[in-house]
C-alpha cells in the first residue's frame, strides 16, 4: 500500500528539485542549444538552397557552353570546307594557266623550230648548189681539156639544138 501513497517529504523535495532543474535548464540550457541548432538548420537549408541555385546556374552555363561549342564546330567545318574549295579552285586555275602557257611556249617553239629548219634547209640547198656548181665546173674544166671529148660534146649540143630547131 505504501507504494501507491505518495509521501509528503518526497513530494516536497521533488517539487523543489524538479523546479530548480526546470528553472536552470529552461533558462541556461535548452534555449541556448535549440537556438544554436535552429541557427545551424537554417544555415544548412540556406546552403542547400544556394547549392541548388548554383547547380541550376551551372547547368545553364553548361548548356550555353555546349551550344557555343557546337556552333564553333559547325563554323570550323564550314571554314575548312570553304578553304578546301578555294584551294581546289586555285590549284585548278594554276594548272590551267600553266597548261596554257606551256602550250603557248610549245607553239612558239614549234614556229621557231620550223623557221630554223627552213633556214637550215635553205642554207643546205644553197651550199649544195654551190658545191654542185663548183664540182660541175671542175668536171667540165677537166673534160674540156680533152679535145675529142670537147668536140663530141659540141657535136652533141649542136645536135640537140638542131633537134630542138627541127621540132619547132
Amino acid at each position: 500500500m505504501d507504494l501507491i501513497i505518495p509521501s509528503s517529504g518526497l513530494l516536497f523535495w521533488m517539487v523543489l528539485i524538479f523546479g530548480i532543474v526546470f528553472f536552470i535548464l529552461a533558462k541556461f540550457g535548452f534555449p541556448v542549444i535549440t537556438a544554436m541548432i535552429g541557427k545551424r538548420t537554417s544555415y544548412i537549408n540556406q546552403s542547400l538552397e544556394d547549392a541548388r541555385k548554383a547547380k541550376e546556374e551551372l547547368e545553364g552555363m553548361t548548356q550555353t557552353c555546349n551550344k557555343m561549342l557546337e556552333q564553333t564546330y559547325r563554323q570550323q567545318a564550314e571554314i575548312l570546307d570553304q578553304a578546301q574549295k578555294t584551294a581546289n579552285e586555285m590549284l585548278e586555275n594554276a594548272v590551267q594557266q600553266a597548261r596554257k602557257e606551256s602550250d603557248m611556249l610549245i607553239a612558239s617553239a614549234k614556229v621557231e623550230i620550223q623557221a630554223q629548219k627552213q633556214e637550215a634547209i635553205n642554207e643546205v640547198r644553197n651550199s649544195i648548189v654551190d658545191i654542185a656548181l663548183a664540182a660541175s665546173a671542175k668536171i667540165l674544166r677537166s673534160q674540156l681539156e680533152d679535145k675529142n671529148l670537147r668536140d663530141s660534146m659540141m657535136e652533141a649540143v649542136l645536135q640537140e639544138v638542131d633537134n630542138c630547131n627541127n621540132k619547132v
Binding site: S7, L10, W13, M14, T34, I37
Partner: protein, 350 residues
C-alpha cells in the same frame, strides 16, 4: 557458441552453490521474498549499498522532521538504526508506521511528524538532477564556445544534440503547434529528467538503483507540472470547449458534457502519473524477481541452484536490456502525451 554456453552453465552449476552455501548458510535467516522486493523498490532513510558476510554497509542520509511534541530535528539516519531512539524519534519495525520515523505522545501512540528527510529517493533525485544539469549545461557550453556553423558537435554536445533535436522536431513541434518554442524547454526538461532517472534506476549499484520514477510521488509531481503547463497557458477556445462545448443544448443544460470534460482535465495527468509509475515499478520488480531466483533456490541443492542461477543471469540480462528500452520509451511517451495535451489546450479558432 551453444556448446560454450552449455559448458558455462554446467560449470556454474558446480562452482556457484558452494560459494553461496558458505555465505548464505546457517547464519542467514529464511529468504523473505516480499521484503527483498519491496525493500528494493521502496524508499528508505539510508542508502543500503551492500551486505558483506551479514554486515550491512549503508550510507546514512539526513533525517529532517518537525514533530508536534519533540519539535524540529535534523540528524543522520544511522542514529535510528536498530530501533534506537534519538531526540524522541524512532523507527518502529511493526505496525502501520513500520519503517517510518515517528514520535510517541504521552499515551504511547505513534505520531508521524512532518517529514522532509533526504531519503534514498530524494538523494538519488538530487544526484540525478545534478548529473542532468551538468550534462545539459556542458552541452550548452559547447555551443557557446564553438562556432556552430563550421564545427560538428563533439563530446557531450554530440551525444545530446541528436536526442534534443529529435524531441524538438518529432515530438514538440508537431504536437504543440505554432507556439512550440514556449513549451519546448519544459518538454525537453521533462524528457531528460525522466530518462536520466529511469536509466540511473537500472544501474544496480550506488548511486544508481533507486526506484525514483517508479515512485508515485515523483510521477505525481511530474504530472502536476504538465497539468499546470496545460491549464495555465490554455487559450479561451480550450476553456470554451471544456465548459461550453459544441454539443446539443440539452447536454449542456444538465451539465453532462462540461462535467465529463472537466473530469477529463484530471484524468489526463492522472494517466501520465500512473503509466510512468507502473511501467518503471514493474520493470524493477521484474529484474528483482529474476535475481531473487538465485536466493530462493539456494537451499534446493547445488545442481538446481546453479542451473537456475545461470538461467536467472541470462534472463536478467535480457530484462535489463528491455528496461533500457522501456526507460527511453516511457520518457518519450510522457513527453509526447504532455506535448499533445499542451497542443490540445491551444486549439486554433475554427
Amino acid at each position: 557458441m551453444r556448446k560454450c554456453l552449455l559448458l558455462i552453465s554446467l560449470l556454474l552449476a558446480f562452482a556457484l552453490p558452494p560459494a553461496f552455501a558458505s555465505s548464505h548458510g546457517e547464519a542467514e535467516e529464511e529468504f523473505d521474498m516480499a521484503e527483498f522486493l519491496f525493500g528494493h523498490v521502496g524508499d528508505s532513510y539510508d542508502w543500503h549499498v551492500t551486505t558483506i558476510r551479514g554486515h550491512h554497509i549503508s550510507i546514512p542520509l539526513p533525517v529532517i522532521v518537525f514533530g508536534k511534541i519533540n519539535g524540529p530535528a535534523v540528524f543522520m539516519s544511522n542514529k535510528l538504526s536498530h530501533g534506537e531512539i534519538y531526540k524522541g524519534y524512532f523507527i518502529p519495525e511493526e505496525g502501520e508506521n513500520a519503517g517510518k520515523v515517528v514520535e510517541a505522545d504521552a499515551e504511547g501512540n505513534e505520531l508521524r511528524p512532518i517529514d522532509i528527510s533526504i531519503t534514498k529517493n530524494v538523494f538519488a533525485l538530487m544526484v540525478n538532477a545534478v548529473l542532468l544539469v551538468w550534462l545539459i549545461l556542458s552541452c550548452a557550453g559547447w555551443y557557446k564556445k564553438h562556432d556552430v556553423l563550421t564545427e560538428a558537435p563533439t563530446g557531450v554536445a554530440g551525444l545530446m544534440e541528436p536526442v534534443i533535436e529529435m524531441i524538438e522536431n518529432d515530438v514538440v513541434k508537431p504536437n504543440v503547434g505554432d507556439e512550440y518554442r514556449r513549451f519546448s524547454p519544459y518538454l525537453l526538461t521533462v524528457f531528460f529528467f525522466i530518462l536520466i532517472n529511469n536509466l540511473m534506476g537500472i544501474v544496480p549499484f550506488f548511486p544508481g538503483g533507486a526506484n525514483v520514477t517508479g515512485n508515485i510521488a515523483v510521477t505525481l509531481v511530474l504530472a502536476l507540472f504538465t497539468f499546470a503547463m496545460v491549464n495555465l497557458f490554455g487559450n479561451k477556445h480550450y476553456y470554451k470547449e471544456v465548459f461550453w462545448p459544441d454539443v446539443p443544448l440539452f447536454l449542456k443544460a444538465i451539465p453532462i458534457m462540461p462535467l465529463i470534460e472537466f473530469v477529463g482535465l484530471f484524468t489526463k495527468p492522472f494517466s501520465l502519473m500512473v503509466r510512468l509509475f507502473a511501467n518503471i515499478l514493474a520493470g524493477h520488480l521484474m529484474v528483482l524477481s529474476i535475481v531473487a531466483i538465485v536466493f530462493i533456490t539456494a537451499k534446493m541443492g547445488p545442481v538446481l541452484n546453479g542451473s537456475l542461477s545461470a538461467v536467472a543471469v541470462a534472463f536478467g540480462v535480457f530484462i535489463d536490456c528491455l528496461e533500457i528500452l522501456v526507460a527511453f520509451i516511457q520518457a518519450y511517451v510522457f513527453t509526447t502525451l504532455s506535448a499533445v495535451f499542451i497542443g490540445m489546450a491551444h486549439p486554433k479558432h475554427h
